[in-house]
Subunit: 383 residues, 2 copies
């Protein structure tokens, strides 16, 4: 159990925001979190971002966000761990508050993709893979996940259509979330017939990129109790890594970093799988959702997809996932995604999830994954 | 005074390393630090890097370094604060060890520029400036510093030749350092006659980019005492920020982040200016050296250059700077530079500076600056 709690939440909708700059996007989430926390006394800012250098010609987001948010002067850095940058930034804030050197920290995950189009985006996302052994051969993020999915289908004798439940669930929940990028429902029979992105990963399988920002404010738990009616405790927080390259893994279907970070975060929180009421996982594709459920211990190897088939991942199932639409329907603004996941679980725990609310939630878990699984960041939240 | 001490140091020489990959470069510094510390039991890695995405097609360096250094699985992230990324990563390690959540942390600053040539490098460095208000107008890092230098000359009635002492000192010290990029001595009369990079910043004024990596290993001070003969205590550690854009500052000749981070770090360490035996500052250009000396309180506004003229910055002067050549002669491998500065001060404090040694050193300060001064990271080290 860490001694750190969340006292403020902010997020923008995820969409293509051609008319919103990177700095405004970050500010909208920061402003919302400050309003929610009813404090603007922040001691440090941790920005989660992956691609602003490549896509907006801007690095140095720590100073930018501090400046543009009216906090010029304060300590501020960017934390990067590919697509897991958002949750990695939250982890630094947890460490900072735990140290006693920082009293109140702001985390903002922000990603702005819509200034860039076409192959530049695919190239940018592939920076998370191994440049010397994977990207140089032409591997993209979608292709890496396609390799894993094909292997999974071969290994366990399942079909493309067996993964449909993940996307159907994500869209069903996204349809209820006014901040989601895609609010259309998806019929299972359309899933396997969708246009292919990287065989067998299809348009209805891969999560869409998008512009968005999400923010949280954290402080020591004993202060938090006095500051807001319902602080959300960060009971567990862990980062683990794996080989950068898929080919270096003994078993490409075992997400070791996912397993290890979940094990650590759950041990810190003192919770078992039965205690966890929802799990916001990294469903960048359906295969990643299946493998995450397996690695984190909610399903045996080869059986993650069955939880989708059987409706166990629905909001009234045994282990709800993607309760606001997940990466697939809420959208996947790369470096911001990990912060969205934490904001969403915190809203569930506070009972502020509106149409997306799950009943009786007291423990939630998030997991944000970078690359093909080389970084995984897991948090356990409690009220 | 923090409770964190340095138990291991590693660095490569700075040069153009066309035949060394980014991962090898990082590993050489990591290996040296592990050998020096006589421990490979590391709990977390903080990578300081600015430009690997742009210059090497590789992000996700946390997982890459953990993997390639034989530490696959451990917690690892990248910390970015433009050209101050190296020291910003050290700051995260200090916070992590202070929190008690991490026992031993490795910091490696690494930058590999030599895969890229020409304007791409200039463009990459300019990512640290304000994309929407500065870079879009064509401003580069060199041009931003040229504006500050021209203003300084106008404001205080000094000439280009008055800045010569900074470069002469840097090259005199670099000549003694086998790891320095440039080991040639420089004559003062050549300084003002050098080819211009961005008027009035010249070839003998601006620090050269270069490839390099530097690493430190830190742990709690009480453990450090048992592990190595001469641990170096991180007595103070602070990050401060300023406006990203030069035009947003009331006084463009006052490096507010430099002043503020120095004030905080010195207060934590309980030292005054008279206690500081050397100051490894961010001499990316001579104007930045002059302004840093002034902001950090070693000279009155407009008088920083006089310390160079009068020889006070020499190794036997009152406030030695660039004792191994500084950014100007040791070289400036962007995201690695801040870690080099700390390795160098630690070597001085240990009495392991060989020909570059200053006598009787017990307190040293480092300051790493990002952009035109929007981030400054100051550390005070003691034995």
């Amino acid at each position: 159990m860490t001694n750190v709690s969340i006292i403020g939440l902010g997020q923008t909708d995820v969409s293509e925001k051609w008319e919103t700059s990177l700095r405004h996007l970050a500010w909208y989430a920061v402003e919302a979190a400050i309003d929610d926390a009813a404090t603007s006394k922040i001691d440090a800012i941790y920005v989660g971002n992956m691609l602003a250098g490549e896509l907006s010609g801007q690095r140095h987001l720590g100073a930018l966000v501090a400046d543009f948010s009216g906090m010029r002067g304060i300590e501020a850095v960017t934390v990067e761990a590919a697509q897991a940058s958002g949750a990695a930034a939250v982890r630094q804030a947890v460490i900072a508050v735990s140290s006693g050197l920082i009293e109140t920290a702001l985390v903002v995950g922000v990603e702005k993709s819509s200034d860039t189009t076409g192959s530049a985006l695919t190239t940018a996302h592939a920076l998370s893979l191994d440049a010397d052994y994977e990207t140089i051969q032409g591997l993209t993020m979608e292709a890496a996940q396609a390799l894993m999915m094909r292997r999974y289908m071969h290994e366990y004798g399942v079909e493309v259509s067996d993964f449909a439940g993940f996307s159907v669930n994500a869209h069903a929940n996204g349809a209820l979330n006014p901040l989601a990028m895609y609010r259309n429902r998806l019929r299972a029979e359309r899933f396997a017939a969708a246009p292919v992105v990287a065989d067998p990963v299809s348009l209805f399988d891969a999560a869409p990129g998008g512009d968005g920002a999400a923010a949280i404010i954290v402080t020591r738990s004993e202060r938090a109790e006095d500051m807001v009616p319902k602080p959300v405790h960060i009971a567990g927080s862990a980062i683990a890594t794996d080989s950068l390259s898929l080919s270096d893994r003994k078993n490409p279907l075992f997400l070791r970093a996912s397993a290890e970070s979940a094990r650590k975060a759950m041990a810190q929180a003192g919770v078992t799988h039965a205690d966890i009421d929802l799990f916001e996982l990294h469903d960048s594709t359906t295969i990643m959702a299946a493998l995450s459920l397996e690695a984190a211990g909610f399903a045996a190897p080869g059986e993650g997809w069955m939880l989708a088939r059987d409706g166990e991942i629905a909001r009234d199932g045994s282990i709800p996932i993607s309760t606001f639409g997940g990466l697939k329907a809420r959208g996947n603004p790369a470096g911001a995604t990990g912060v969205y996941q934490i904001v969403e679980v915190a809203r569930q725990l506070r009972g502020q999830a509106f149409d997306n609310q799950i009943d009786g939630v007291t423990v939630g878990m998030t997991q944000n994954i970078g690359g093909s699984g080389a970084t995984a960041v897991t948090h356990v939240l409690k009220v």
